[in-house]
Protein backbone atom coordinates (compact mmCIF):
# COMPACT_ATOMS: atom_id res chain seq x y z
CA UNK A 1 0.00 0.00 0.00
CA UNK A 2 1.43 3.42 -0.94
CA UNK A 3 2.48 5.68 1.91
CA UNK A 4 3.44 9.32 2.28
CA UNK A 5 4.67 11.37 5.22
CA UNK A 6 2.21 13.90 6.63
CA UNK A 7 4.83 16.51 5.72
CA UNK A 8 8.12 16.29 3.83
CA UNK A 9 11.32 17.06 5.67
CA UNK A 10 10.14 16.16 9.19
CA UNK A 11 11.34 12.58 9.54
CA UNK A 12 12.71 9.49 7.78
CA UNK A 13 11.75 5.87 8.50
CA UNK A 14 14.34 5.86 11.29
CA UNK A 15 14.61 9.27 12.91
CA UNK A 16 13.45 12.87 13.15
CA UNK A 17 15.21 15.40 10.92
CA UNK A 18 16.44 18.32 12.98
CA UNK A 19 19.09 20.96 12.62
CA UNK A 20 22.06 22.18 14.59
CA UNK A 21 23.35 25.73 14.89
CA UNK A 22 27.10 26.14 14.43
CA UNK A 23 26.98 29.51 16.22
CA UNK A 24 25.10 28.72 19.45
CA UNK A 25 25.32 24.89 19.32
CA UNK A 26 21.60 24.37 19.91
CA UNK A 27 19.45 21.78 18.17
CA UNK A 28 16.06 22.43 16.59
CA UNK A 29 13.05 20.46 15.41
CA UNK A 30 11.76 20.76 12.75
CA UNK A 31 14.92 21.61 10.81
CA UNK A 32 15.32 25.35 10.33
CA UNK A 33 17.33 27.38 7.81
CA UNK A 34 17.96 30.10 10.40
CA UNK A 35 18.57 29.35 14.07
CA UNK A 36 15.39 30.26 15.97
CA UNK A 37 17.47 30.97 19.08
CA UNK A 38 20.28 33.20 17.80
CA UNK A 39 19.38 34.05 14.21
CA UNK A 40 22.59 32.59 12.75
CA UNK A 41 22.60 31.02 9.29
CA UNK A 42 25.34 28.45 10.06
CA UNK A 43 22.73 25.74 10.47
CA UNK A 44 23.15 22.15 9.31
CA UNK A 45 20.59 19.37 9.03
CA UNK A 46 21.11 16.46 11.40
CA UNK A 47 19.51 13.15 12.27
CA UNK A 48 18.11 13.43 15.78
CA UNK A 49 18.50 10.55 18.25
CA UNK A 50 15.95 7.77 17.86
CA UNK A 51 15.73 7.22 21.60
CA UNK A 52 14.81 9.54 24.42
CA UNK A 53 12.79 9.82 27.60
CA UNK A 54 9.18 10.75 28.19
CA UNK A 55 8.91 14.23 29.73
CA UNK A 56 5.19 14.93 29.42
CA UNK A 57 2.10 13.06 28.25
CA UNK A 58 -1.67 13.09 27.96
CA UNK A 59 -4.30 11.53 25.70
CA UNK A 60 -6.42 13.36 23.15
CA UNK A 61 -9.98 12.02 23.49
CA UNK A 62 -11.83 14.03 20.80
CA UNK A 63 -10.59 14.61 17.24
CA UNK A 64 -8.86 18.01 17.09
CA UNK A 65 -9.46 20.28 14.06
CA UNK A 66 -8.17 18.78 10.80
CA UNK A 67 -7.38 15.37 12.29
CA UNK A 68 -8.95 12.36 10.58
CA UNK A 69 -7.37 9.52 12.54
CA UNK A 70 -8.58 7.50 15.49
CA UNK A 71 -9.09 8.74 19.05
CA UNK A 72 -8.00 8.49 21.75
CA UNK A 73 -4.34 8.87 20.93
CA UNK A 74 -1.31 9.60 23.08
CA UNK A 75 0.25 13.05 22.92
CA UNK A 76 3.33 14.25 24.74
CA UNK A 77 6.82 15.62 24.96
CA UNK A 78 9.98 13.55 24.54
CA UNK A 79 13.38 14.72 25.71
CA UNK A 80 16.24 13.77 23.38
CA UNK A 81 19.94 13.47 24.29
CA UNK A 82 20.64 16.53 22.10
CA UNK A 83 19.13 18.61 24.91
CA UNK A 84 15.81 19.30 23.27
CA UNK A 85 12.18 18.48 24.01
CA UNK A 86 9.93 17.56 21.11
CA UNK A 87 6.13 17.63 20.80
CA UNK A 88 5.01 14.25 19.51
CA UNK A 89 2.33 11.66 19.20
CA UNK A 90 2.85 8.83 21.73
CA UNK A 91 1.88 5.23 20.97
CA UNK A 92 0.01 4.73 24.22
CA UNK A 93 -3.43 6.27 24.67
CA UNK A 94 -3.80 5.32 28.33
CA UNK A 95 -1.95 7.94 30.41
CA UNK A 96 -1.81 5.54 33.37
CA UNK A 97 0.56 3.29 31.41
CA UNK A 98 3.11 6.09 31.04
CA UNK A 99 5.53 7.61 33.52
CA UNK A 100 8.00 10.46 33.76
CA UNK A 101 11.44 9.58 32.41
CA UNK A 102 10.24 6.37 30.72
CA UNK A 103 12.54 5.37 27.82
CA UNK A 104 10.93 5.81 24.39
CA UNK A 105 12.05 5.17 20.85
CA UNK A 106 11.22 6.74 17.49
CA UNK A 107 8.69 5.09 15.16
CA UNK A 108 6.29 6.02 12.41
CA UNK A 109 2.54 5.47 12.60
CA UNK A 110 -0.35 5.62 10.12
CA UNK A 111 -2.78 8.53 10.61
CA UNK A 112 -5.44 7.85 7.98
CA UNK A 113 -5.85 6.93 4.31
CA UNK A 114 -6.37 9.82 1.87
CA UNK A 115 -8.74 9.98 -1.17
CA UNK A 116 -6.15 8.34 -3.45
CA UNK A 117 -5.76 5.38 -1.10
CA UNK A 118 -2.39 6.54 0.20
CA UNK A 119 -1.68 5.98 3.87
CA UNK A 120 -0.59 9.19 5.56
CA UNK A 121 2.16 8.52 8.11
CA UNK A 122 3.46 10.64 10.97
CA UNK A 123 6.28 10.43 13.49
CA UNK A 124 5.67 9.05 16.95
CA UNK A 125 7.43 7.65 19.99
CA UNK A 126 6.81 4.21 21.49
CA UNK A 127 7.49 3.16 25.10
CA UNK A 128 10.79 1.29 24.70
CA UNK A 129 9.57 -1.73 26.69
CA UNK A 130 6.71 -2.30 24.24
CA UNK A 131 6.98 -4.94 21.53
Amino acid sequence: MPQRPVQDGLFTDDHLIGSHCGACSRHHFPAAAICPYCGASEVTRVALSDTGTLWGWTAVTAPPPGYQGDVPFGFGVVELPEGIRVITRVEEADPRQLSFGMPVRFATAPLHTDEEGTTVVTYTFVPAGAA
Binding site: Y37, T58, F75, V77
Partner: protein, 379 residues
Protein backbone atom coordinates in the same frame (compact mmCIF):
# COMPACT_ATOMS: atom_id res chain seq x y z
CA UNK B 1 6.84 64.33 30.85
CA UNK B 2 4.25 61.67 30.29
CA UNK B 3 0.63 62.10 31.24
CA UNK B 4 -1.50 59.92 33.46
CA UNK B 5 -4.39 58.04 31.86
CA UNK B 6 -7.77 57.42 33.41
CA UNK B 7 -10.67 55.12 32.61
CA UNK B 8 -13.45 57.55 31.83
CA UNK B 9 -16.11 54.96 31.04
CA UNK B 10 -16.79 51.25 30.59
CA UNK B 11 -19.34 49.15 28.75
CA UNK B 12 -19.93 45.47 28.20
CA UNK B 13 -22.15 43.09 26.28
CA UNK B 14 -22.60 39.95 28.41
CA UNK B 15 -20.48 36.94 27.43
CA UNK B 16 -22.40 33.91 26.17
CA UNK B 17 -23.96 32.61 22.96
CA UNK B 18 -26.21 34.99 21.00
CA UNK B 19 -27.41 33.32 17.80
CA UNK B 20 -29.56 36.30 16.78
CA UNK B 21 -26.84 38.95 17.04
CA UNK B 22 -23.89 39.80 14.81
CA UNK B 23 -20.46 40.52 16.24
CA UNK B 24 -21.00 44.14 15.16
CA UNK B 25 -24.17 44.34 17.25
CA UNK B 26 -22.33 42.98 20.29
CA UNK B 27 -19.70 45.69 19.82
CA UNK B 28 -22.29 48.44 19.38
CA UNK B 29 -23.81 47.63 22.78
CA UNK B 30 -20.47 47.73 24.60
CA UNK B 31 -19.21 50.87 22.83
CA UNK B 32 -22.44 52.83 23.36
CA UNK B 33 -22.50 51.93 27.04
CA UNK B 34 -18.85 52.91 27.52
CA UNK B 35 -19.26 56.24 25.74
CA UNK B 36 -22.44 56.97 27.70
CA UNK B 37 -20.70 56.07 30.96
CA UNK B 38 -17.92 58.54 30.06
CA UNK B 39 -20.40 61.34 29.25
CA UNK B 40 -20.09 60.92 25.47
CA UNK B 41 -16.74 62.73 25.09
CA UNK B 42 -15.19 63.34 21.66
CA UNK B 43 -12.47 60.75 21.01
CA UNK B 44 -9.61 61.02 18.54
CA UNK B 45 -8.81 57.36 17.91
CA UNK B 46 -10.26 53.88 18.34
CA UNK B 47 -8.53 50.52 18.84
CA UNK B 48 -10.45 47.28 18.40
CA UNK B 49 -9.20 43.92 19.67
CA UNK B 50 -10.44 40.86 17.80
CA UNK B 51 -9.09 37.58 16.44
CA UNK B 52 -12.02 36.16 14.46
CA UNK B 53 -14.22 39.13 13.44
CA UNK B 54 -12.48 39.67 10.10
CA UNK B 55 -11.38 42.66 8.07
CA UNK B 56 -12.21 46.15 9.39
CA UNK B 57 -14.28 44.74 12.25
CA UNK B 58 -13.80 47.90 14.30
CA UNK B 59 -14.96 50.08 11.39
CA UNK B 60 -18.22 48.14 11.23
CA UNK B 61 -19.00 48.83 14.88
CA UNK B 62 -18.20 52.53 14.71
CA UNK B 63 -19.86 52.76 11.28
CA UNK B 64 -23.10 51.50 12.83
CA UNK B 65 -22.87 54.34 15.34
CA UNK B 66 -21.93 57.10 12.88
CA UNK B 67 -18.59 57.50 14.64
CA UNK B 68 -16.08 56.85 11.87
CA UNK B 69 -13.56 59.41 10.63
CA UNK B 70 -11.08 58.93 13.46
CA UNK B 71 -8.26 56.41 13.01
CA UNK B 72 -9.60 52.90 13.73
CA UNK B 73 -6.98 50.21 14.30
CA UNK B 74 -7.87 46.53 14.60
CA UNK B 75 -5.48 44.64 16.85
CA UNK B 76 -4.95 40.86 16.93
CA UNK B 77 -2.90 39.40 19.75
CA UNK B 78 -4.77 36.18 20.53
CA UNK B 79 -6.20 36.06 24.06
CA UNK B 80 -4.39 39.33 24.78
CA UNK B 81 -5.91 41.28 21.86
CA UNK B 82 -7.82 43.65 24.13
CA UNK B 83 -4.74 44.20 26.27
CA UNK B 84 -2.72 45.03 23.17
CA UNK B 85 -5.36 47.53 22.04
CA UNK B 86 -5.34 49.09 25.51
CA UNK B 87 -1.54 49.37 25.46
CA UNK B 88 -1.56 51.22 22.13
CA UNK B 89 -4.29 53.65 23.18
CA UNK B 90 -2.71 54.36 26.55
CA UNK B 91 0.72 54.98 25.02
CA UNK B 92 -0.74 57.43 22.52
CA UNK B 93 -2.53 59.36 25.27
CA UNK B 94 0.54 59.39 27.51
CA UNK B 95 2.60 60.73 24.61
CA UNK B 96 0.10 63.55 24.05
CA UNK B 97 -1.08 62.32 20.65
CA UNK B 98 -4.72 62.05 21.78
CA UNK B 99 -6.79 63.39 24.65
CA UNK B 100 -9.31 60.59 24.53
CA UNK B 101 -9.39 57.17 22.87
CA UNK B 102 -11.94 54.40 22.61
CA UNK B 103 -10.76 50.82 23.14
CA UNK B 104 -13.05 47.88 22.53
CA UNK B 105 -12.92 44.16 21.94
CA UNK B 106 -15.44 42.00 20.08
CA UNK B 107 -15.73 38.30 19.29
CA UNK B 108 -18.00 35.51 18.13
CA UNK B 109 -15.94 32.35 18.57
CA UNK B 110 -16.42 29.24 16.46
CA UNK B 111 -17.88 26.37 18.49
CA UNK B 112 -15.80 23.58 20.00
CA UNK B 113 -12.03 23.36 20.13
CA UNK B 114 -10.73 26.60 18.69
CA UNK B 115 -9.46 26.18 15.14
CA UNK B 116 -6.65 28.56 14.42
CA UNK B 117 -4.90 29.64 11.24
CA UNK B 118 -1.82 29.65 13.48
CA UNK B 119 -1.14 25.96 12.87
CA UNK B 120 0.19 24.63 9.57
CA UNK B 121 -2.21 22.15 7.87
CA UNK B 122 0.11 19.16 8.41
CA UNK B 123 0.17 19.83 12.14
CA UNK B 124 -3.63 19.66 12.25
CA UNK B 125 -3.61 16.50 10.11
CA UNK B 126 -1.11 14.87 12.49
CA UNK B 127 -3.29 15.66 15.49
CA UNK B 128 -0.67 18.03 16.88
CA UNK B 129 -2.97 21.08 16.87
CA UNK B 130 -4.91 19.75 19.86
CA UNK B 131 -5.10 22.89 21.98
CA UNK B 132 -6.46 21.21 25.16
CA UNK B 133 -3.53 18.77 25.04
CA UNK B 134 -1.09 21.67 25.41
CA UNK B 135 -3.12 22.92 28.36
CA UNK B 136 -2.97 19.40 29.81
CA UNK B 137 0.81 19.17 29.40
CA UNK B 138 1.23 22.51 31.20
CA UNK B 139 -1.12 21.29 33.92
CA UNK B 140 0.87 18.09 34.32
CA UNK B 141 4.13 20.02 34.60
CA UNK B 142 2.58 22.31 37.24
CA UNK B 143 1.35 19.30 39.20
CA UNK B 144 4.81 17.71 39.03
CA UNK B 145 6.92 20.78 39.77
CA UNK B 146 4.62 22.69 42.13
CA UNK B 147 2.92 19.76 43.88
CA UNK B 148 -0.55 20.81 42.68
CA UNK B 149 -3.22 18.13 43.06
CA UNK B 150 -6.18 17.33 40.86
CA UNK B 151 -8.48 18.25 43.73
CA UNK B 152 -6.86 21.69 43.83
CA UNK B 153 -7.57 22.05 40.10
CA UNK B 154 -11.21 21.28 40.88
CA UNK B 155 -11.14 23.87 43.68
CA UNK B 156 -10.23 26.58 41.16
CA UNK B 157 -13.40 25.76 39.23
CA UNK B 158 -15.49 25.65 42.40
CA UNK B 159 -14.16 29.08 43.45
CA UNK B 160 -14.62 30.79 40.10
CA UNK B 161 -18.07 29.35 39.48
CA UNK B 162 -19.10 30.54 42.96
CA UNK B 163 -17.83 34.02 42.11
CA UNK B 164 -19.68 33.96 38.79
CA UNK B 165 -23.09 33.40 40.39
CA UNK B 166 -23.46 37.12 41.05
CA UNK B 167 -21.99 38.37 37.77
CA UNK B 168 -24.84 39.25 35.39
CA UNK B 169 -22.38 39.26 32.46
CA UNK B 170 -21.22 35.66 32.98
CA UNK B 171 -22.35 32.71 30.86
CA UNK B 172 -22.44 30.12 33.66
CA UNK B 173 -24.05 31.30 36.89
CA UNK B 174 -24.48 28.14 38.92
CA UNK B 175 -22.27 26.85 41.71
CA UNK B 176 -20.55 23.49 41.24
CA UNK B 177 -18.89 21.02 43.60
CA UNK B 178 -15.44 19.48 43.30
CA UNK B 179 -17.14 16.08 42.91
CA UNK B 180 -19.10 17.36 39.91
CA UNK B 181 -15.97 18.84 38.33
CA UNK B 182 -14.02 15.60 38.79
CA UNK B 183 -17.05 13.66 37.58
CA UNK B 184 -17.18 15.49 34.24
CA UNK B 185 -15.52 13.65 31.37
CA UNK B 186 -11.76 13.74 30.90
CA UNK B 187 -10.87 15.85 27.86
CA UNK B 188 -7.10 15.49 28.17
CA UNK B 189 -5.78 13.99 31.40
CA UNK B 190 -5.51 15.66 33.95
CA UNK B 191 -8.08 18.15 32.63
CA UNK B 192 -11.78 17.38 32.86
CA UNK B 193 -14.40 19.16 30.75
CA UNK B 194 -15.51 21.50 33.54
CA UNK B 195 -11.91 22.60 34.13
CA UNK B 196 -11.86 24.17 30.65
CA UNK B 197 -13.47 27.48 29.73
CA UNK B 198 -15.92 27.72 26.85
CA UNK B 199 -15.07 29.81 23.80
CA UNK B 200 -18.06 32.11 23.27
CA UNK B 201 -19.21 35.59 22.27
CA UNK B 202 -19.20 39.04 23.78
CA UNK B 203 -17.86 42.56 23.69
CA UNK B 204 -16.32 45.03 26.11
CA UNK B 205 -15.24 48.66 25.80
CA UNK B 206 -13.42 51.31 27.77
CA UNK B 207 -12.93 55.02 27.17
CA UNK B 208 -9.44 56.25 28.05
CA UNK B 209 -8.56 59.88 28.49
CA UNK B 210 -5.71 62.01 29.78
CA UNK B 211 -6.23 62.26 33.54
CA UNK B 212 -7.45 65.59 34.77
CA UNK B 213 -5.55 67.40 37.49
CA UNK B 214 -8.44 67.05 39.86
CA UNK B 215 -11.70 65.21 39.79
CA UNK B 216 -14.51 64.28 42.06
CA UNK B 217 -15.56 60.75 42.90
CA UNK B 218 -13.85 57.41 42.57
CA UNK B 219 -11.55 58.00 39.62
CA UNK B 220 -9.83 54.93 38.20
CA UNK B 221 -6.43 55.42 36.59
CA UNK B 222 -4.66 53.07 34.20
CA UNK B 223 -1.26 52.66 35.83
CA UNK B 224 0.16 50.16 33.35
CA UNK B 225 -0.78 48.23 30.21
CA UNK B 226 2.06 45.89 29.32
CA UNK B 227 2.25 43.38 26.49
CA UNK B 228 5.01 40.84 25.89
CA UNK B 229 5.62 37.89 23.59
CA UNK B 230 7.50 34.69 24.42
CA UNK B 231 11.23 34.12 24.52
CA UNK B 232 12.28 31.06 22.51
CA UNK B 233 13.21 27.80 24.22
CA UNK B 234 10.29 26.56 26.31
CA UNK B 235 8.48 23.66 24.62
CA UNK B 236 5.24 24.36 26.52
CA UNK B 237 5.30 28.11 25.83
CA UNK B 238 2.01 29.60 24.63
CA UNK B 239 3.95 30.11 21.40
CA UNK B 240 3.27 26.34 20.96
CA UNK B 241 6.54 25.44 19.20
CA UNK B 242 7.26 21.84 18.14
CA UNK B 243 10.43 21.74 20.21
CA UNK B 244 12.21 23.54 23.01
CA UNK B 245 15.32 23.27 25.11
CA UNK B 246 15.67 20.69 27.88
CA UNK B 247 17.09 23.43 30.06
CA UNK B 248 14.30 26.02 30.16
CA UNK B 249 14.13 26.84 33.86
CA UNK B 250 15.74 30.25 33.39
CA UNK B 251 13.51 31.28 30.48
CA UNK B 252 10.89 33.67 31.84
CA UNK B 253 7.41 33.04 30.43
CA UNK B 254 5.65 35.95 28.67
CA UNK B 255 3.32 36.47 31.65
CA UNK B 256 6.30 37.07 33.93
CA UNK B 257 7.86 39.46 31.41
CA UNK B 258 4.64 41.46 31.06
CA UNK B 259 4.05 41.49 34.82
CA UNK B 260 7.54 42.81 35.47
CA UNK B 261 7.00 45.62 32.95
CA UNK B 262 3.63 46.45 34.48
CA UNK B 263 4.86 46.46 38.10
CA UNK B 264 7.78 48.68 37.07
CA UNK B 265 5.53 51.13 35.21
CA UNK B 266 3.06 51.31 38.10
CA UNK B 267 5.78 51.51 40.74
CA UNK B 268 4.17 48.72 42.75
CA UNK B 269 4.69 45.02 43.46
CA UNK B 270 2.36 42.06 43.79
CA UNK B 271 2.01 42.69 47.54
CA UNK B 272 0.21 45.96 46.76
CA UNK B 273 -2.63 44.27 44.86
CA UNK B 274 -6.14 44.07 46.31
CA UNK B 275 -7.61 41.84 43.61
CA UNK B 276 -6.65 40.12 40.36
CA UNK B 277 -8.35 38.89 37.20
CA UNK B 278 -6.14 36.27 35.54
CA UNK B 279 -6.22 33.90 32.58
CA UNK B 280 -8.12 30.78 33.61
CA UNK B 281 -8.56 29.17 30.20
CA UNK B 282 -8.26 26.02 32.25
CA UNK B 283 -8.04 25.50 36.00
CA UNK B 284 -4.28 24.87 35.95
CA UNK B 285 -3.67 28.03 33.95
CA UNK B 286 -5.07 30.09 36.87
CA UNK B 287 -2.63 28.48 39.33
CA UNK B 288 0.25 28.88 36.90
CA UNK B 289 -0.69 32.56 36.64
CA UNK B 290 -0.37 32.99 40.44
CA UNK B 291 3.24 31.87 40.14
CA UNK B 292 4.10 33.63 36.89
CA UNK B 293 2.61 36.93 38.10
CA UNK B 294 4.62 36.65 41.31
CA UNK B 295 1.47 36.58 43.48
CA UNK B 296 2.82 33.57 45.37
CA UNK B 297 6.16 31.72 45.49
CA UNK B 298 6.56 28.77 43.12
CA UNK B 299 4.96 25.75 44.75
CA UNK B 300 2.32 27.63 46.76
CA UNK B 301 -0.43 28.11 44.15
CA UNK B 302 -2.33 24.91 44.93
CA UNK B 303 -2.19 25.62 48.63
CA UNK B 304 -3.47 29.15 48.01
CA UNK B 305 -6.64 28.02 46.30
CA UNK B 306 -7.19 25.20 48.81
CA UNK B 307 -6.86 27.62 51.73
CA UNK B 308 -9.23 30.17 50.18
CA UNK B 309 -6.62 32.92 49.83
CA UNK B 310 -7.98 33.79 46.40
CA UNK B 311 -11.69 33.60 47.23
CA UNK B 312 -13.73 36.75 47.76
CA UNK B 313 -13.08 37.44 51.44
CA UNK B 314 -9.59 35.93 51.21
CA UNK B 315 -6.33 37.86 51.31
CA UNK B 316 -6.06 38.31 47.51
CA UNK B 317 -9.30 37.53 45.65
CA UNK B 318 -8.68 36.24 42.11
CA UNK B 319 -11.26 36.19 39.33
CA UNK B 320 -14.05 37.82 41.30
CA UNK B 321 -15.92 38.08 37.98
CA UNK B 322 -16.08 34.29 37.89
CA UNK B 323 -13.16 34.21 35.48
CA UNK B 324 -13.24 32.72 32.03
CA UNK B 325 -14.51 29.50 33.64
CA UNK B 326 -17.79 31.33 34.39
CA UNK B 327 -17.81 33.98 31.69
CA UNK B 328 -16.49 31.95 28.77
CA UNK B 329 -13.80 33.34 26.50
CA UNK B 330 -14.50 35.64 23.55
CA UNK B 331 -10.82 36.22 22.63
CA UNK B 332 -10.90 39.84 21.52
CA UNK B 333 -13.24 40.92 24.33
CA UNK B 334 -11.65 38.88 27.09
CA UNK B 335 -8.94 41.24 28.38
CA UNK B 336 -11.21 44.29 28.25
CA UNK B 337 -13.99 42.35 29.97
CA UNK B 338 -11.56 41.90 32.87
CA UNK B 339 -10.84 45.64 32.91
CA UNK B 340 -14.54 46.51 32.86
CA UNK B 341 -15.15 44.20 35.81
CA UNK B 342 -12.18 45.54 37.79
CA UNK B 343 -13.35 49.12 37.25
CA UNK B 344 -16.72 48.07 38.70
CA UNK B 345 -14.85 46.72 41.73
CA UNK B 346 -12.66 49.81 42.12
CA UNK B 347 -15.74 52.03 41.91
CA UNK B 348 -17.28 49.97 44.71
CA UNK B 349 -20.20 48.92 42.50
CA UNK B 350 -19.71 45.14 42.40
CA UNK B 351 -22.59 44.34 44.75
CA UNK B 352 -22.44 40.88 46.29
CA UNK B 353 -19.02 40.32 44.68
CA UNK B 354 -17.51 43.53 46.07
CA UNK B 355 -13.97 43.28 47.46
CA UNK B 356 -13.97 45.64 50.44
CA UNK B 357 -11.67 48.62 50.06
CA UNK B 358 -10.36 47.58 46.64
CA UNK B 359 -7.84 50.16 45.44
CA UNK B 360 -5.26 48.40 43.23
CA UNK B 361 -6.16 45.71 40.72
CA UNK B 362 -4.38 43.65 38.08
CA UNK B 363 -5.76 42.03 34.91
CA UNK B 364 -3.84 39.32 33.05
CA UNK B 365 -4.34 37.43 29.81
CA UNK B 366 -2.03 35.07 27.95
CA UNK B 367 -2.47 32.98 24.85
CA UNK B 368 -1.47 32.14 21.35
CA UNK B 369 1.40 34.00 19.80
CA UNK B 370 2.52 33.94 22.53
CA UNK B 371 1.01 37.14 23.80
CA UNK B 372 0.65 38.10 27.45
CA UNK B 373 -0.88 41.31 28.72
CA UNK B 374 -0.86 42.70 32.24
CA UNK B 375 -2.93 45.76 33.14
CA UNK B 376 -2.79 47.57 36.47
CA UNK B 377 -5.60 49.85 37.62
CA UNK B 378 -5.82 52.08 40.67
CA UNK B 379 -8.53 54.09 42.35
Amino acid sequence: MTRAVEIAGTGIHPFGRFEDKTVTELGVTAVRDALHDAGNPPFQAAFCGTAYAGVAAGHKVLGALGLTGVPIVDVEAGCASGGAALMLAAAAIRAGQYECALVFGIEKMPRGIIRSSFFEPWREEAGLAATPAYFALRAQRLMRESAVTKDQLAQVVVKNRAHGVDNPNAMFRGEVTAEQVLGSRVVCEPLHLWMLCSPNEGAAAVVLRAARASGAGARVTLEAAALRSHLPGSVLSEGTPLSGLADDDEIDPPTTLAARDAYDAAGIGPDDLDLVECQDTDAARELLSYEELGLCPKGDAGKWVAEGVTRIGGRLPVNTSGGLLSKGEPLGASALGQVVDLVTQLRGEAGARQVDGARVALAHTVGRGANASVVILQR
